[in-house]
C-alpha cells in the first residue's frame, strides 16, 4: 500500500513502470494527479542538469491529470468492466519529442526557425494519446529537425546522458530517451528516420522502437524525410513500449502513407511472467548479419551483443549467420535520400507565415535572412546536400541511384525472411554514448554511428533496441529487426530477451548521473559544453 501522504514515496511513483502505475491508478493507490505531480516535481528539480525538456506546462498537465482522475473515478464506480475498458495508458504521463504537434502549444523541432510557432492542431498521435486518456507531460529536446545523433544540434542547447552527464544521450530523440532513463516520464514518443529512436534508447539504456513505415500516422509530425520518418515509443520495459505503440498505431486517413493494417490487441497482453516470456524464444530463428559487426566497432559493445545473442540461444532460439550484402551502401544512400526529401520539406520555413521572421528588404532578402539565422549548421549542410542531389544533371547519378540501391537493401532483408529467419539481431550502435563535442567536428564520424540502424529505415522495417548490458559502465543496446508489420512478434522476442536477462547484474545498476541530478547541483549540459570550448558551433 502506498502512503499518499509521504512525499518520498510519492516521488517514487515515478520509478514504476507504466503498467505498475496503471495498476495503482485502478486500485486507487495513486491518482493521475499524483503521478503527474511526481514527474513534474522531478523535472523541476532535476532537469537543469539534464535538459531533456524544452516545454512543460505544469498547469495544463495538472488539469489534464485531473480530467483523467474524473474518468477513473467514474470507471471505478461503474465497476471492473468499466475499469478494464480504460486504455492501459489512461492517466499515464507521456513525453513527446518536440516535433509532435499539440494544439495550442509550441513545436520547435529543436530549431530557432520555429521559435514562437504554436500548432493550431493536434498531431494524429496526440489525438490518439488523448483518447487513450494519457497525460501529455511536455515536449522533449532533439537535434534540430531530427538531424543528428547526439541532440547536440538542438538550437536550445544539448541534453545530457543520465548515465554520464558529460556524455550525449544519442539522438535525435535524445530528450525523450534521457527523460525516460531519468524517470522524468515512464514512456515517451520519438521519431526515427535513420535510428533516432533506437540509437538514443541504446545510449540511455531504455527500450525504443521504430515501427514499420506506415504503422503510425505522421500527420502533425514536423517532417524530416517523409519516406523514412516514423513515430515510435520509448519505455523502460518492453510491455510499456508495446502499450504505447498500441495507443498510437493504425491507419489515419490524413496520412496517405499510413497503412490499413490492423493493430494487434496482443500488444496489450505481452506476458508479465518472465518464464512465459522466455518460452517465446524457443525455436525462433534469428539471423545475425555479419555486415553489422562493422570495422571500428567498440569491442565492449560487440561483446555485450554477442553475450545477449548467447542468452537468446540458450533460451532456445536458433541463431544463424546471415548476410545483408548491401549494408555498406546504406549510409551513402541514406545521406542522399534523407537530405533530398528534407531540402523540400524544410522549404516552407520562409518567415512569411509563422515562426522566426527576419526582415531584410525584399522578399528574397527576408527569406535568406530568416533561413540564414533560423537554421543551424547541420540543417544547412543537409539542405545543401539534398538540393545538390536533386539538381538537374545530378538527379540520376544521386537520387535515382539511391532509390535503386534502396530497393536492393530492401531485397537483402526480403531474402533473409524468405530463408525462414524470424528476426535479425544486431548491435543498435557500434559504440556507446560519446562525450560532448567528440564528434561535432567530424560530421561523417557522427553519421557512421547510425550505420546499423539506417538500413532498417531504408527498408521500412520495424526495429527495436533493448538494453543488453553495459560497456565501460555505459548502456549497450541490442537491436532486433522484424518483418513488415511484425511488431508484435518483435516485441515478444524483445520481451523474451528482457526475461532471460531479468536477473542480470547490469539490470540493477542505476544510471550514475541520477544522484547528481537529484541533488539539483549538476551544471547544465550547455555549461559543460561551454567549458569544453565546443559550444559555439
Amino acid at each position: 500500500m502506498i502512503d499518499r501522504d509521504d512525499p518520498i514515496v510519492t516521488t517514487d511513483l515515478a520509478r514504476l513502470p507504466a503498467h505498475a502505475m496503471a495498476a495503482a491508478l485502478r486500485t486507487g493507490e495513486a491518482s493521475a494527479t499524483e503521478l503527474a505531480a511526481a514527474h513534474l516535481d522531478r523535472i523541476e528539480t532535476e532537469d537543469g542538469g539534464l535538459h531533456a525538456w524544452l516545454h512543460v506546462d505544469r498547469a495544463g498537465v495538472t488539469a489534464a491529470a485531473r480530467e483523467s482522475d474524473v474518468v477513473l473515478a467514474r470507471a471505478r464506480a461503474d465497476g471492473p468492466a468499466a475499469l478494464a475498458g480504460l486504455h492501459p495508458l489512461h492517466g499515464i504521463p507521456v513525453a513527446l519529442k518536440d516535433l509532435i504537434s499539440v494544439r495550442g502549444g509550441p513545436v520547435t523541432a529543436g530549431s530557432r526557425i520555429l521559435a514562437g510557432y504554436r500548432a493550431p492542431y493536434d498531431a494524429h498521435v496526440t489525438e490518439r494519446l488523448r483518447s487513450a486518456g494519457a497525460v501529455i507531460l511536455g515536449k522533449t529536446n532533439m537535434d534540430e529537425f531530427a538531424m543528428g545523433s547526439s541532440t547536440e544540434h538542438s538550437a536550445y542547447g544539448p541534453t545530457a546522458n543520465p548515465w554520464d552527464l558529460e556524455r550525449v544521450p544519442g539522438g535525435s530523440s535524445g530528450g525523450s530517451a534521457a527523460a525516460v532513463a531519468a524517470h522524468h516520464a515512464p514512456v515517451a514518443l520519438g521519431t526515427d528516420t535513420g535510428g533516432s529512436i533506437r540509437q538514443p534508447a541504446s545510449h540511455c539504456g531504455v527500450v525504443g522502437m521504430k515501427p514499420t513505415y506506415g504503422r503510425v500516422s505522421r500527420y502533425g509530425i514536423v517532417a524530416f524525410a517523409s519516406s523514412l520518418d516514423q513515430v515510435g515509443p520509448f519505455a523502460r520495459d518492453v510491455r510499456d513500449a508495446a502499450a504505447l505503440l498500441h495507443a498510437i498505431a493504425g491507419r489515419d486517413d490524413r496520412d496517405s502513407t499510413s497503412a490499413p493494417v490492423p493493430v494487434p490487441d496482443g500488444l496489450l497482453s505481452l506476458p508479465a511472467s518472465d518464464d512465459e516470456a522466455a518460452s517465446a524464444l524457443r525455436g525462433v530463428r534469428l539471423g545475425l548479419p555479419r555486415e553489422y559487426f562493422v570495422e571500428g566497432m567498440e569491442p565492449g559493445v560487440a561483446a555485450v551483443v554477442r553475450e545477449a545473442v548467447d542468452g537468446l540461444r540458450s533460451a532456445g532460439a536458433i541463431v544463424e549467420e546471415v548476410s545483408l550484402p548491401h549494408t555498406d551502401y546504406g549510409l551513402a544512400t541514406y545521406y542522399i535520400v534523407a537530405p533530398a526529401e528534407a531540402s523540400a520539406n524544410l522549404a516552407r520555413y520562409d518567415g512569411i507565415r509563422y515562426g522566426l521572421s527576419v526582415r531584410d528588404g525584399d522578399v528574397l532578402a527576408d527569406y535568406l535572412a530568416t533561413r540564414g539565422r533560423g537554421f543551424g549548421p547541420e540543417v544547412k549542410r543537409r539542405i545543401i546536400l539534398g538540393t545538390y542531389a536533386l539538381s538537374a544533371g545530378y538527379y540520376d547519378a544521386f537520387y535515382g541511384t539511391a532509390q535503386k540501391v534502396r530497393t536492393l537493401i530492401r531485397a537483402d532483408f526480403d531474402a533473409v525472411w524468405a530463408s525462414g529467419v524470424d528476426a535479425v539481431v544486431a548491435p543498435t550502435s557500434p559504440g556507446v554514448a560519446w562525450r560532448f563535442g567528440e564528434k561535432l567536428d567530424d560530421p561523417v564520424a557522427m553519421y557512421l554511428t547510425d550505420v546499423c540502424t539506417l538500413p532498417v529505415n531504408m527498408a521500412g522495417l520495424p526495429g527495436i533496441s533493448v538494453p543488453a548490458g553495459l560497456s565501460g559502465g555505459l548502456p549497450v543496446g541490442l537491436q532486433l529487426i522484424g518483418r513488415p508489420w511484425g511488431e508484435l512478434e518483435l516485441l515478444r522476442l524483445a520481451r523474451g530477451h528482457e526475461a532471460v536477462t531479468a536477473a542480470a547484474a547490469w539490470r540493477t545498476v542505476e544510471p550514475p548521473g541520477l544522484a547528481a541530478l537529484r541533488a539539483g547541483e549538476a551544471p547544465t549540459p550547455a555549461e559543460r559544453v561551454a567549458a569544453l570550448g565546443a559550444g559555439d558551433r
Binding site: A119, R218, A225, S256, S343, L346, R348, R353, L390
Partner: protein, 506 residues
Amino acid sequence: MPYPGGLEAALTRYEPVIGIEVHAQLRTASKMFCGCAVAGDDAAPNTRTCPVCLGLPGALPVINRRAVELVLATGMALGATVPPATRWDRKNYVYPDLPKGYQISQYDLPLASDGLLTFDTSAGERTVRIRRAHLEEDTARLVHATLPDGRNASLVDFDRSGMPLMEIVTEPDVRSAEEARRYAEELQRVLRYVGASDAEMERGQMRVEANVSLRPRGSVALGTRVEVKNMNSFRSVERAIAFEIERQAAALDAGEALRQQTRGWDEARGVTYVMRDKEDSEDYRYFPEPDLPPLRTDPAWLAGIRARIPELPASRRARYVGTLGLSPHDAGILTSTRETSDFFEAAVAAAEGSAATPKAIANWVAGELARLANAAAGTPRGRIDRTGIGPAELAALVALVEDGRVSGTNAKEALAVAFETGEAPAAVVEARGLGRIADDDALGVEVDAVLAANPAAVADYRAGRPQAAGFLVGQVMRRTQGRADAVVVREVLLARLDATVAEEDR
C-alpha cells in the same frame, strides 16, 4: 503597330509555331489535397484554409479522388492514353504564394498523354495533338495593396492555395492566332461537357498561355520561343498572339535575335510586355512526392469514368448536320453548351412521330426558349434546362405550330405564359383558347359579326374598292386574337361579301 503590312504580310514571310498550355480549375467540392471547400468568388480572404493548404509543419496531403476522375475523364474525351500507374512529384521553387516551398504536381507520369482535339476554324477543320494533361495544386493568390498607413504590401489569400488544377499542354501544332482561340474555345466546351471545369476565363477558372515562335516559311527548324501570359478572354488570346507574331516578325526582319522570354498581354494597350527573361531556365528539382503513394488506375474504375463521358460537341455537330439536316451554324449554336444540346436532343426524341421536325425544334430551342432563359440570366431559371419548360413540352408546342393548330405568334405567347406560370405550353394554348379556330362555322359567326359591325367598309367593298376587304380581315383577326388563319378568314369573308353582292345583283 509592329509589322509593316500587318499580320497578313508577316504571315507571308513567317510561319508561326504555337503550343498552348491551359490551366483549368477543376469542378470539385473540396481542394486537391485537403477537405477545405473550394472557395467561391464571394468568400472573404483566408476563410477556406487548414493546416494542409497553409503548409503548416506536419500537415500531409490526401488525394482528391474526384479531381483525379475529372482529369481522367478529360483525358479520355481527348482520346489520350491513361497510364496503368501514376504518381505525384514535388516541383520545388520559392515564392510567397507557395506555402510548402514546392508544388505537388506531376512530372513524368501525367494522368493523360497523347490526345487529340479537333475544332472548326474559318479555314476548315483542324486537329491539334495534346501532349499531356496532368493534375496539380493551385498556388495562393497574391494581392498587392496599399495599407491604411500608406505602405505598399503584398497580401496572401490562401483560399486558392491547394485548389485542384489541370494543366493541358498541346504539341506545337497551332499555326495561327485564330486557331489558338478556336482551340481554347473548343477545349472549354469539352471541359464543360465532361463536367471537369466551369472554365470561365474571366473568373480565372481557365488560364491560357501560349508559346509562340516564328520560322521563315519553308524552314523546319524552330525559332526562339516566347511565352505569352495574362490573356483573360478568348478575344485577348487571339489579339495577343497576333500581336506577338507581328512583333517577332518585325524583330526577325530587322535581324534582331529574339530572347526566350515570358511576356504578358496588356489588354488596354494591345501589346505584350516583358515579364521575365528565361535565359537561365529554372531548375525545379522534381522528385517523387514521398507523402503520396503511387496511384494505380484500376481498369473497372476507368471503365466507369469512361461510361459517364457524354458525346462531345464535335461529334454532336457532325450528327446534327449529317443526320438531322441542320445547318453548321445552327449545329454550332445548339452544341455551344451541353445543356442546350441535351435539351435539344431530348426534345427531338420526344417529338418522334409528330410534325415537329428537328429543324423546327432547333429554331425554338435556339430562338424563343433561349431568349426566355437569357432574359432570366442570373436567376435559378436562367438556363435553357431550368426554365420549367421541359423538352417534351416544347416539342408538343412545336408540333402544334407545325400542324397549323396554333399560330407562331400565339405559340410564343403560350411559351411566355408557360414560363411565368409553370404550366405546359400546350395547356396554355388550350386554356386561353390560343389555338386556331379550325371550324368554318365558328369562323363564319365571327365574320358575320364583323360585317354587321362595319357597314361602311362593306359598302366600300361593294362600291368596288377591294382594299376594304383587307380592313375587314384585320378586324376579324383582331376579334379572334390571332387564333384564326388570315388566309382562311379572307376566303370566308370574300365568300360572304361576294355572295351578298350576287344576291343584291339579282
